[in-house]
């Protein structure tokens, strides 16, 4: 049976969901929120989503997509160009190759996995940003950002899991 045009369009749209969800989380990261702590160090929401999708659906969030999303992040946030691209690319490739390890394991294993992956990811981001800016950025903000990122991962993962179960079951 050959699928019709609409069916194929529907499939394409659903296939774009992972990348789109990362983009939406990027915009959420940009929201001005009047909480004193969040203005100095925000959780890396895009990193969480890239990790989630590369573990669960590496076929739908490819290395190229991670690279482009990193580029968008750098452009929007005024960060040195290329840093987020590299970090998200490495996270995507690394997690996609180890993705099978997390299948059929309780969620806490994935949480631990993410907490481990986020350390080098944020460290590389901090180091490269510092090197490109030409001055050491305060590590404290990065550490707060890491703690927030690790703590908030279950919430983001839950939302993404709902989206995955609802929209990507047959894709």
């Amino acid at each position: 049976m050959k699928p019709g045009v609409w069916q194929r369009l529907d499939l394409v749209a659903r296939g774009l969901l992972p990348a789109f969800s990362v983009f939406v989380l990027l915009l959420v990261n940009l929201l001005p929120i009047s909480v004193p702590l969040l203005s100095t160090a925000s959780p890396a929401l895009a990193l969480m989503a890239v990790f989630y999708w590369s573990v669960n659906r590496p076929d739908l969030l490819t290395a190229v997509a991670a690279f482009l999303l990193g580029l968008i992040q750098d452009l929007l946030m005024g960060l040195p160009l290329g840093v987020s691209s590299l970090v998200l690319l490495l996270v995507q490739t690394g997690s996609a190759s180890q993705g099978r390890f997390f299948h059929n394991k309780p969620f806490s294993v994935m949480w631990w996995g993410f907490a481990l992956v986020a350390i080098p990811a944020l460290l590389v981001q901090w180091l490269l940003s510092s090197a490109l800016i030409g001055a050491l950025l305060p590590i404290k903000a990065t550490m707060i950002s890491y703690v927030l990122t690790a703590l908030l991962f279950p919430i983001v993962a839950w939302v993404l899991a709902r989206a995955q179960n609802g929209l990507l079951r047959y894709v």
Binding site: L27, L30, L31, K140, A141
Partner: protein, 319 residues
């Protein structure tokens, strides 16, 4: 796909992994290429950044409204809880301000008389554009905000951005309908300042903390916590006398300034066009020549004449 792996599969599978690996290496290399390109800081990158801000600004403009109203609700609850203390504080402040108002009236009258006597030409009119903060960018790595005004509203790169309290930053890139503001706390920000009481000059250098540093302060400068810090107007980037912050701590190797604004409470900002293009526009520096005397530039004499100060319309013998 793996379950019917015929001879085709056997040939293409290694090819595909090789291709994947090649693509990965190519992407890594292009990431480093982007870093080099960004470091070269070409006009192109700036345009792309401005364009990307323009692209997301309609979405952020709408989405940031509910966020703002949630903030308003939390603010209201906080205000209700602190009503009594706040009222007391305001009463005290009001008394002080009434005294200041009297002083200001006397001074402005005196100032007017003296200006008449000295036939002083007043500085060019200030052009303010008010806009809303629609995004707070960066977090740990950069201190930027996005505002909902761009070249459409007369905003251009290098203009001063003010809150009710004082200087917040400057326009880093201006798109058509949105611009990026580099806060004075950002690590890339340098503002020439003067200590209000001692008139010592220094630079206010951001370091991505909430308390920027005073750098290039002379050894004999007298700075104490509580001193007000104003823009000095050197270099012509900003006019002199805009309040920036208060010296918060003085130690042997660092003097830190607490800015007047709090980043998480920035909501409406004003972009001020003082007609100064200063150190930010290199072509204008080349065109500009030091004027013979301060009055001929049509600017207030507090702004030192020298490198990079260019009035929008050169008056008198400035040509």
């Amino acid at each position: 796909m793996a379950q019917h792996g015929g001879p085709q599969q056997r040939i293409f599978s290694p090819l595909r992994t090789a291709l994947h690996r090649f693509a990965f290496i190519l992407l890594i290399l292009s990431a480093f290429g982007l870093m080099l390109l960004g470091k070269a800081d070409t006009v192109l990158i700036e345009r792309i950044r401005a364009a990307s801000a323009d692209l997301v600004s309609p979405v952020m403009n709408i989405v940031s409204r509910p966020a703002a109203s949630i903030n308003e609700i939390t603010d209201k609850i906080y205000n209700l809880a602190n009503l009594y203390e706040e009222n007391e504080r305001l009463r005290r402040e009001n008394q002080q301000l009434l005294a200041w108002q009297q002083a200001a009236r006397n001074l402005s009258y005196e100032n007017e008389r003296l200006r008449d006597l000295a036939s002083y030409t007043s500085p060019p009119a200030l052009n303010l554009v008010t806009s809303r903060v629609i995004a707070d960018m960066g977090g740990a790595y950069a201190h930027n905000v996005m505002i909902s005004a761009g070249s459409r509203d007369g905003v251009s790169k290098g203009q001063a951005v003010l809150s009710d309290e004082g200087l917040v930053g400057r326009v880093a890139e201006a798109g058509y309908q949105a611009s990026r503001v580099l806060l004075i706390t950002d690590i890339n920000s340098r503002v020439p300042v003067v200590i209000e009481s001692s008139r010592d000059r220094a630079f206010l250098s951001g370091d991505n903390t909430n308390r920027p540093l005073l750098t290039f302060l002379t050894a004999d400068a007298s700075v104490a916590p509580g001193d007000r810090v104003l823009t000095s107007g050197d270099g012509g980037a900003f006019p002199s006398g805009i309040p920036i912050g208060i010296v918060s701590s003085v130690s042997e190797n660092a003097v830190r300034v607490s800015p007047m604004f709090r980043r998480h409470q920035l909501e409406y900002l004003r972009v001020a066009n003082y007609g100064l293009h200063g150190i930010l526009s290199e072509t204008r520096i080349r065109q500009s020549r030091p004027a013979d005397n301060a009055n001929s530039t049509g600017l207030s004499p507090e702004i030192p004449v020298g490198v990079g100060i260019v009035p929008v319309e050169p008056a008198g013998n400035a040509q």
